[in-house]
Symmetry: C2
């Protein structure tokens, strides 16, 4: 297990030059941000969408887990830092226009701050707005209140 | 078949009041846009990410297919209008923060203008940038050049 962990980190370890080439090929918006979708690597569930700046992308690759940029806190947001619900990075992908990232991750527990597995729990069904997934862990428990 | 088609449209048909409640609950950014992820409803493939304004959302629901806002053309973009590679809307979902849409769609052919099924065909593997999916239809054929 320890060997596997080390190998995974090695895969994600890039030289500064390699990281510059990768980040330089991506289009960050006027605020220096790029949208990043997190998808559960084996089931295909779309878990959430958040934003990354260049530092968040670097931290994601260095640490092998999803790190976003929090627009509300104006700071790096290590997903799961408070709740323990981390996203292990399985693979970094990006699109044809180089302006959206797709993180293939292994989600520990739940992705959503409401305690649901995925943040996409609102749906329009039969002309009505419905909540389509259940709370799996109470937010009080997640955030130790 | 005709009956099924009519029923689907009925499901997606909202009164003006219902649409106002739905759109009013979503957060559009300073440019009046909201990101919309398109996911193949049965396989879970993330196909693409694009943007919608309020009119694009209304058209998507009215027409039962993905309609985006093209930031480069500054116009409504009926996905597949030129290429025939349309995305039938199966379900509209959105996230906990009401600021990202997830379209569950049935993609005809390919989603990407390069002729690949998904736009997310770039991946970092073993420290190298790799193209992880093949061109299924030549862009020349898609766009009738």
């Amino acid at each position: 297990m320890v060997v596997n962990k080390l190998m995974e980190f090695f895969v994600n370890e890039l030289s500064d030059q390699q990281f510059d080439a990768l980040a330089g090929g991506l289009t960050f918006d006027q605020n220096g941000l790029i949208p990043a979708i997190a998808q559960q690597y084996d089931t295909g569930e779309v878990l959430m969408m958040a934003w990354m700046n260049r530092d968040a992308l670097a931290a994601t690759l260095q640490e092998g887990r999803a790190v976003f940029w929090s627009r509300s806190r104006d700071a790096l947001w290590r997903k799961g830092e408070t709740s323990g619900q981390t996203q292990e990075l399985k693979e970094l992908r990006w699109d044809c226009d180089n302006d959206t990232i797709l993180l293939m991750v292994n989600q520990t527990g739940v992705a959503c701050h409401t305690g649901r597995r995925s943040c996409f729990f609102n749906a329009l069904r039969g002309g009505q707005i419905e909540t389509i997934s259940e709370i799996e862990i109470s937010p009080d428990k997640l955030y130790g209140k």
